[in-house]
């Protein structure tokens, strides 16, 4: 299966009906994508497929062919959201954090509180009551260099200019 993974073209052999989550974690050793419920409710396994947040536990691997997949590892280790989540205690136990950060990236720059609440409604956090997550997102947005776009920063070769509507795989997150 050929697709773009964290900015690099890859060709991965795995059963087409295997969950994307398992392919990432087991075949590719990208364990930053977490399993919390296996049914698309908790969002811990959120990855970006063509820029859209999806639950990797709901997507058969076959659906990633030709797409661009971004996992938390694709952000590197110096993304402003990563620092802000740690510094503002937006991460406590940390198990929801990778998915939460990727879902935040999909919101683009300077989202309003209402947009954040709606956009993260599919990502459960049991530790923080979400308040510190809002503070982290606000801090990352105010702290970034002027002109840089938080939504794309650190995501290499994401098809930001691709005008095609992102494919909505069956695992696309429900919007409330």
């Amino acid at each position: 299966m050929k697709f773009t993974l964290n900015g690099a073209a890859v060709d991965v052999q795995a059963h087409p009906m295997k969950r994307l989550l398992d392919v990432l974690r087991e075949e590719l050793n990208l364990t930053g994508t977490k399993e919390g419920c296996g049914e698309g409710e908790c969002g811990a396994c959120t990855v970006l497929v063509d820029g859209a947040p999806v639950c990797a536990c709901l997507i058969p691997f076959a659906q990633t062919e030709g797409t661009s997949v971004t996992t938390i590892e694709g952000l590197g280790e110096d993304h402003p959201l990563q620092h802000a989540f740690m510094d503002e205690v937006g991460a406590q136990c940390g198990i929801c954090t990778p998915g939460m950060i990727l879902a935040t990236i999909a919101l683009g720059d300077n989202p309003s509180l209402a947009q954040i609440k709606e956009g993260l409604a599919g990502n459960l956090c049991r530790c923080t009551g979400y308040e510190a997550i809002y503070r982290a997102i606000a801090k990352a947005n105010t702290g970034k260099k002027s002109g840089t776009r938080l939504g794309t920063l650190g995501v290499k070769n994401r098809r930001a200019t691709d005008k095609r509507k992102p494919a909505r795989p069956s695992g696309s997150k429900k919007r409330p």
Binding site: G32, G36, R126
Partner: protein, 745 residues
């Protein structure tokens, strides 16, 4: 530069935000295979046969007969009644019977194990399975707290108010499910790779368990009892994705299972529960049924309190006696009353055992107390704030157990500050006649183990010099709440060194001393204090030298100290008299809600939470504890409903059991007060559990202020509608009573 009181960077580093941090399911070992648990599908009966209907090639199969000679088929905790694997008698659904392991997970899942039962009386109760604790004939634990003269108290009352209150199960929903990996010591491939599985390769009878664990020494103890004296045991905590009490006792069971499979197969065995299994089989918050009968003067002064507490323990003892203790002790709330009786019982039922969950009995009993207070307020026509002000505990007052409170009592302060910040009085007037309601709850939470518990624990913590500074050694786990960071701050300031020079030892029972379980809001106040004392001694020993220069000149130096409870603390375990806790944290919540007049859905708008925690070691993390606990309390109060059918959770999925999302969680206004506890580190009291005691009663009191007589959580739309109907019914029949309770005389 002081570290305590500042928001230093967490010791976790950036790994949690980059995905690099390894949780149990992220860890693999060469040759590792997977384990699965075959569980009972009935609530009570006897196993008559077990048949294995699959190709046995590659499978490791374990049942109770695989417990080693010299060991015991037991999950050791308080009372030795819970088997590691069922031998014959089944006492609840989802009880583990057979374990399977295989390298291929699909083959593992596909294997069919048939279990036949003969239904029939449960041995424990001598009759059919019992699911309702009020109908259970078997008491798990009971005690009575008595103070003053109850009869004289009621005789002097102008009025008596009664009522019964209920709380349901609550599931922890840590986002990382329970999981462990057991690695046998004598596993060849690991030895050749230089990976040590345990204390030493020479010992062929050893095991190391890695896992998502709150209390590594509980797991170690359980493994030692199960395996017997011929085995060595080591427990290593992997980064843990939330606990909230849910990883206090159950990991002992899971570790025993993985260990039996690992020893039999001779290979590392990983067992990670999926969400359904985790919800179906592991512990939950104890449901409660609490009745209050309160004698009052016309001015609202409480003169007699008679409280009856019943909690549902489930099928085995596990931690229920201690949950009942904390629940019972907190049942009279933060109020003074000279004549008090609290009768508390935990009952056996044929459901999976209920267990530790943040708050440990106190959220249940204080829910009842605080909703009862609002009913008293209505009955007497005294506003809720004045009623609480009149009765709140003050310095010099004594609690139900006779504990005389010192200057660290803050009940009035938190109440008055919450009322002021939230604009309670003004909003209560303004919301009248609208779909908005506002309510409050005043509460407290004892820090550390109950009574003489801390003395018996004798927790130990150590500090030692390193090349660059100091390393602290505790078994208190980081489960998200910030243990590593907070302990390092205490050590930095007690040593007078920069925070950055403090290291935290990995949680590995072969390395760290037993600082006790990570429970009971004790990790900062109790364990932090031991660390502080160890630092003072270490500092004396190195004199004017820095840790690094002393280490360079004289080599390693380590100081280990044991916890010393306050000298004045006395406790009578039989009579439940004395100083139940060394100190208490105090809280007041004000909740504002909006009730949809068509669907009866409750939208929580805002919660104001004022908390006295003695000292915030790390203010941002402390705030995070309060916000997170408040969020869980909102779930407990409004939406989290465990549906039990025939003794099993029928909605054991996150699709059907919902916890608060961003859209369900109200705005929060958090205020931290610091009224120090003189024997806590830098004045700190316990914090972790306090925040979950208040939201449920504050929310229900807000709903009540709209005119819906709710006395139960979760306050679902169905419950609100029922209370509306019963009120209409009651009005039609000129009857002021609902739910069968009497307000009167």
């Amino acid at each position: 530069m002081s570290a305590v009181g500042t928001n230093v960077k967490r010791k976790d580093g950036i790994g949690k935000a980059t995905g690099r941090t390894k949780y149990a399911d992220d860890v693999t070992f060469p040759g590792m295979i997977y384990g699965r648990t075959v569980r009972s599908t009935i609530a009570a009966g006897r196993i008559t046969s077990v048949t294995h209907a699959y190709d046995a090639a590659g499978f490791t199969v374990v049942d109770h007969r695989d417990v080693p000679k010299g060991g015991r088929n037991l999950v050791a905790l308080i009372v030795d009644d819970q088997p590691c694997l069922v031998e014959r008698e089944v006492r609840h659904v989802a009880e583990p019977i057979v374990l399977l392991a295989h390298a291929d997970r699909e083959a593992l899942e596909a294997a069919v194990v048939g279990i036949e039962y003969e239904g029939g009386p449960s041995l424990r109760s001598g009759r059919q399975a019992v699911f309702n604790p009020l109908e259970s004939p078997t008491v798990l634990k009971e005690f009575t707290i008595e103070k003053g003269d109850l009869k004289r108290g009621f005789d002097s009352a102008d009025m008596v108010v009664e009522g019964t209150y209920r709380t349901g199960h609550q599931e922890h929903v840590y986002i990382e499910t329970n999981g462990v990996i057991a690695v046998p010591d004598n596993y060849g491939p690991l030895a050749s790779l230089g990976v040590t599985g345990g204390l030493g390769m020479a010992n062929a009878n050893g095991v190391t368990v890695y896992g998502s664990i709150q209390c590594p020494f509980y797991v170690e103890k359980a493994l030692k009892v199960m395996l017997g004296p011929n085995y060595t045991v080591r427990v290593v905590q992997t980064e843990t994705g939330g606990g909230f009490g849910g990883k206090e006792e159950y990991p002992s069971m899971l570790a025993c299972h993985a260990t039996l499979l690992a020893l039999k197969s001779g290979r590392p065995v990983k067992m990670i529960y999926d969400r359904v299994e985790d919800m179906l089989a592991t512990t939950k918050r104890h449901p409660s049924y609490i009745t209050h009968r309160t004698g009052l003067k016309k001015d609202g002064t409480i003169v007699a309190m008679d409280v009856d507490v019943v909690i549902d323990g489930g099928a085995y003892v596990t931690l229920s006696p201690v949950v009942l203790s904390r629940g019972g002790i907190h049942a009279a709330g933060p109020y003074r009353c000279d004549n008090t009786r609290i009768r508390a019982r935990a009952m056996f039922t044929n459901t999976p055992p209920n267990g530790a969950f943040r708050g440990f009995g106190a959220p249940q009993t204080q829910f009842a107390m605080e909703v009862h207070m609002d009913r008293i307020s209505s009955a007497l026509g005294i506003d809720p704030v004045t009623l609480r002000e009149r009765n709140a505990l003050r310095e010099g007052d004594s609690t139900a157990t006779g504990q005389v409170l010192k200057s660290d009592c803050s009940a009035l302060r938190v109440l008055q500050e919450a009322v002021r910040r939230s604009g309670f009085e003004d909003k209560r007037e303004r919301y009248k006649g609208t779909k908005r309601g506002i309510g409050l709850a005043l509460f407290y939470h004892g820090s550390g183990f109950t009574g003489s518990g801390e003395l018996k624990l004798g927790s130990k913590a150590a500090v030692e010099l390193t090349k660059t500074g100091v390393r602290l050694l505790v078994s208190s786990t980081e489960i998200g709440q910030g243990t590593r960071t907070m302990h390092a701050q205490i050590v930095a300031d007690a040593m007078g060194i920069p925070y950055e020079d403090v290291e935290v030892a990995p949680i590995d029972t072969s390395i760290v001393p037993d600082s006790g379980p990570t429970v009971a809001s004790r990790t900062c106040m109790v364990v932090g204090k031991i660390l502080e004392r160890a630092c003072i001694e270490l500092r004396e020993k190195i004199g004017s030298m820095t840790p690094a220069s002393y280490f360079k000149k004289h080599g390693p130096l380590r100081v280990e100290k044991t916890h010393v409870p306050p000298a004045w603390l006395t406790w009578d375990e039989t009579l439940y008299r004395g100083d139940a806790y060394a100190t208490y944290a105090w809280g007041c919540n004000v909740a504002e809600v909006e009730v949809d007049q068509d669907t009866y859905e409750v939208r929580p708008i805002k919660i104001t939470a004022v908390s006295d925690i003695g000292r915030a070691i790390h203010p941002a993390m402390a705030k995070g504890q309060i916000e997170g606990g408040t969020g869980q309390g909102v779930g407990f109060g409004l939406i989290e409903q465990v549906v039990m059918k025939n003794g099993a959770m029928a909605n054991s999925q996150l699709t059907n059991y919902t916890i608060p999302t961003t859209l369900d969680t109200p705005e929060m206004d958090i205020a931290i007060l610091e009224n120090p506890f003189s024997e806590g580190p830098f004045g700190a009291k316990g914090l972790g559990e306090l925040p979950i005691d208040g939201p449920a009663p504050a929310l229900v009191n807000a709903i009540r202020s709209i005119g819906l007589d709710v006395r139960e959580v979760p306050a679902t739309p169905e419950l609100l509608l029922a209370s509306k109907r019963s009120r209409q019914h009651a009005e039609r029949h000129s009857d002021t009573l609902t739910y069968g309770a009497s307000v009167g005389a």
